[in-house]
Amino acid sequence: MRSHYFRASHLVYCLIVLALSFGGGSVGAAQAESLVLYSGRGKALVEPIVGRFTEETGIEVRVKYGKTAQLAVALQEEGEQSPADVFWSQDAGALGALVGAEMFLPLSEGTLGLVPEVYRGADGLWVATSGRARVLAYSSVRVGGGNLPGSVFDLTDATYRGRVGWAPTNASFQAFVTAMRKTHGQDAAKAWLVGMIENDAQVYPKNTAIIQAIAAGEVDYGLPNHYYLLRFKTADKHYPVEQTSFAAGDIGNLVNVAGVGVLKTSEHVEAAQAFVAYLLSSKAQQYFASETFEYPVVGDVIPSPRLQPLELLRGEAPAVDLDTLEDLKGTLELLAEVGLR
């Protein structure tokens, strides 16, 4: 017993020594010659590209990861004192909110010119870095290819009762509802949400959970973003889920973007602008297309064989002004009204 006690306490003394040594070391964290990036996008998608940027330019980038909405809140709380230079958002809505709070500097003309106009924010305050589509995922075991709905509005039909999974708390879903409100009107959006609830749509916390639920046999259809399934398929090519888009122009095919803006508080504006430009370089865009399965926003990129061609995507996507997606508040109020929040 006694010998164990000694070993145990040694371990704890190590802990104390460790604590003291770190306590001294962790003070001066701020470095002069480095960018601070707030990223609402996951580490798996960001780290490789940041690494290449540092390799090529010698500019260090320190990243703070988080959920897009939480970081947007943090940026507004920080105000003038924010250490952030660049905000890389997972969706256009949060960028719109920061535009509204007058937190972005205009991007350089050269950078803006790289992408089509639909992929730029109002007044050139932010720019899209990659696109992602809303899709209909379905079980390849229980759903035949012939029985697929042409419109997201069809999902309120009795055929789909209890068979559809959705994620009402997910930011991408909420952006999609915003687009529906702006395109079809508040009443139509409300009727659809109510119809889905009455049709016993199953609530999941996020996109990946929807896809896993389809594989597990809990639901037969789901409304996720397009790239998650492709990642499941990379790990397991027999994964029993497929995905498709609705008929051309249907709001269910909304193409949302991840985008980036430079903050007014930045003390390294040049480096920040260089970073934004790098994200639109063909190297970075190629990475998004082949490694993260997202749609590139600039032209000269070899498309991933798993993705449909960009032109086709644009043809199928509904015409939605991405700046209108900032009206998240209205969507949250609607979701609360129908009992989804």
């Binding site: 145990a8 601070v36 780290e47 896993q212 639920a213 594989a215």
Partner: protein
């Protein structure tokens, strides 16, 4: 002694002040929409149902497990004493993920056996995942309780002709009441604030509402009132425990030595007992570890080694100081409460629980705003993170020290004073050595919790600073389970080591 305790009180209350201010600033219509509606009633009753369920399940399983591993001749007792506490090393959301990936038409069970078992979810799923996760907290409390009480009472009851069952219910159980109460409080507070498990299991509790309010609005005002309601709920539990504890008076009548006890011989019950504890270890430890290892299979570490090393350093560099600071703060608080019992010192001790009960997301936002306004120089430094961890987990550090103080007889201190030592040197020469096992348990518990912590780290970590659990979350969020697995295994390994420390010292306290 009073000064550090007061500092601590102020430090816990500061972020709460922020919540109150924010609630006052919130637009009444918005608050009404979020708080006063039918869904809140449903969420409240869901929260309470889940609390009740988890408390019952953990008590019913932990009680026999605690008894078997501390009072009987169970085979491989020492192994099980440690293994049963190991689920402490596994974050709740990882447990939920394990259970989810097991069932269903394409689950692990189907891949291995060809038979599809139903996927757990909703109330049952949350109940199972949270019970497994909380089981060690109940077990540790019950084992401490079983170790502390006087077995001679039991023998008296037996000698008066009572059957073992009767002895258990009329003698053993009443004596364990403080331990059960302490465990119940800890478990309930965990259930109230849990978000990871209930969201994965699709069961709507109050913390779910809080999360949605924070996530959605790009602003914090609507969320503050919900956070306050959750704290009020937690406050009710904290006060209730105190009231119920007050009615329990356990003292040894004579000054005599507690009986040296002999382990009870299980004989033909040894096998069923062995099966019981093995199932607990299987579900709580083997299953999640296998799931993670299965996920890690074939992952190419390559460039990830550097990131993994960085994450280990980052995790240790805040968890270790947090453990030391929390224990340092807990020492005067527990000492005051035990040696100078008064309404004031008891209130101070409960204040430690308040930090524990504050929803981490709210606590983090409160701290974020306060550092920005008051000490902008410290904003986004590891200091703030250490501060947050140590205050949030303070309650975990107070308990073991308090238990240690119960065992340390104040007469020894009095003798030391009578022999001419001052209060400080008495504390250093007499009290502290007696408290050492308790201090080590406190350090280990806070360290373990800090290693698993996620919401505080997410909001308060400096840019470029990523703990192990932040990495796990990052990769699972993007459905890259293989990449998350190495980080999870390191958390398990390091935590497992400290669970060992904890169990060895647990015995010394009793």
């Amino acid at each position: 002694m009073a000064a550090p305790a007061l500092v601590c009180a102020v430090a816990v209350l500061l972020p709460l002040g922020y919540l109150v201010v924010r609630s006052l600033g919130a637009d009444a219509g918005e608050v009404g929409r979020v708080v006063f509606r039918w869904q809140s009633v449903v969420q409240l009753s869901n929260t309470l149902l889940l609390c009740a369920g988890v408390v019952v399940v953990t008590t019913v399983t932990a009680l026999p497990a605690a008894w078997l591993t501390s009072r009987t001749d169970l085979p491989m007792k020492r192994f099980f004493a440690i293994a049963l506490v190991l689920p402490l090393a596994i974050p709740g959301y990882l447990m939920a993920y394990t259970l989810l990936s097991l069932g269903g038409d394409y689950g692990a069970a189907f891949h291995i056996t060809g038979v599809s078992v139903p996927r757990l979810g909703g109330y049952v799923g949350s109940l199972v995942a949270l019970s497994v996760y909380n089981f060690p907290y109940m077990l540790l409390n019950l084992r401490a309780g079983l170790g502390a009480y006087d077995t001679s009472l039991e023998e008296v009851a037996r000698s008066l002709g009572h059957r073992p069952g009767r002895v258990f219910f009329s003698v053993v159980l009443p004596q364990l009441r403080p331990a059960i109460l302490a465990g119940t409080l800890l478990v309930s507070l965990h259930v109230i604030s849990d978000f990871g498990v209930v969201s994965l299991m699709r069961y709507e509790t109050f913390s779910y509402a809080l999360y949605q309010a924070y996530q959605g609005a790009y602003g914090t005002r609507g969320a503050a009132p919900i956070a306050l309601i959750m704290m009020a709920l937690a406050g009710v539990f904290i006060v209730a425990e105190l009231m119920m504890l007050r009615r329990v008076v356990l003292t040894r009548a004579g000054a005599g030595q507690a009986r040296v006890r002999r382990p009870l011989r299980l004989r033909r019950w040894a096998w069923p007992a062995l099966v019981f504890v093995s199932v607990l270890v299987l579900v709580g430890v083997v299953l999640p570890v296998l799931t993670i290892v299965y996920g890690a299979w074939g992952v190419e570490m390559g460039s990830q080694w550097r990131s993994l090393r960085g994450a280990v350093v980052d995790s240790l560099s805040v968890s270790a100081p947090a453990a030391v600071v929390a224990t340092g703060l807990a020492l005067p608080i527990a000492y005051m409460a035990r040696r100078y019992p008064s309404r004031w010192s008891a209130g101070l001790e409960r204040l430690g629980f308040l930090g524990y009960a504050t929803p981490p997301l709210a606590f983090a936002l409160g701290l974020l705003v306060i550092t920005l306004r008051v000490v902008p120089g410290l904003y986004q430094t590891a200091f703030v993170l250490v501060y947050a961890y140590s205050l949030h987990f303070l309650a975990e550090a107070v308990g073991p020290i308090r238990a240690g103080l119960f065992a340390a007889n104040p007469r020894l201190e009095e003798a030391s004073r009578a022999l001419g030592y001052g209060p400080m040197s008495t504390f250093a020469r007499v009290t502290l050595p007696l408290l050492r096992p308790g201090l080590i348990v406190s350090l280990s518990l806070v360290f373990l919790s800090s290693m698993k912590e996620l919401p505080l780290s997410m909001l308060l970590a400096p840019p470029g600073f990523e703990t192990l659990s932040m990495n796990i979350w990052q990769y699972t969020e993007d459905a890259m389970y293989a990449s998350a697995a190495p980080y999870a295994l390191v958390v398990l390994g390091v935590s497992g080591l400290f669970v060992g420390v904890l169990v060895f010292n647990e015995r010394r306290i009793s």
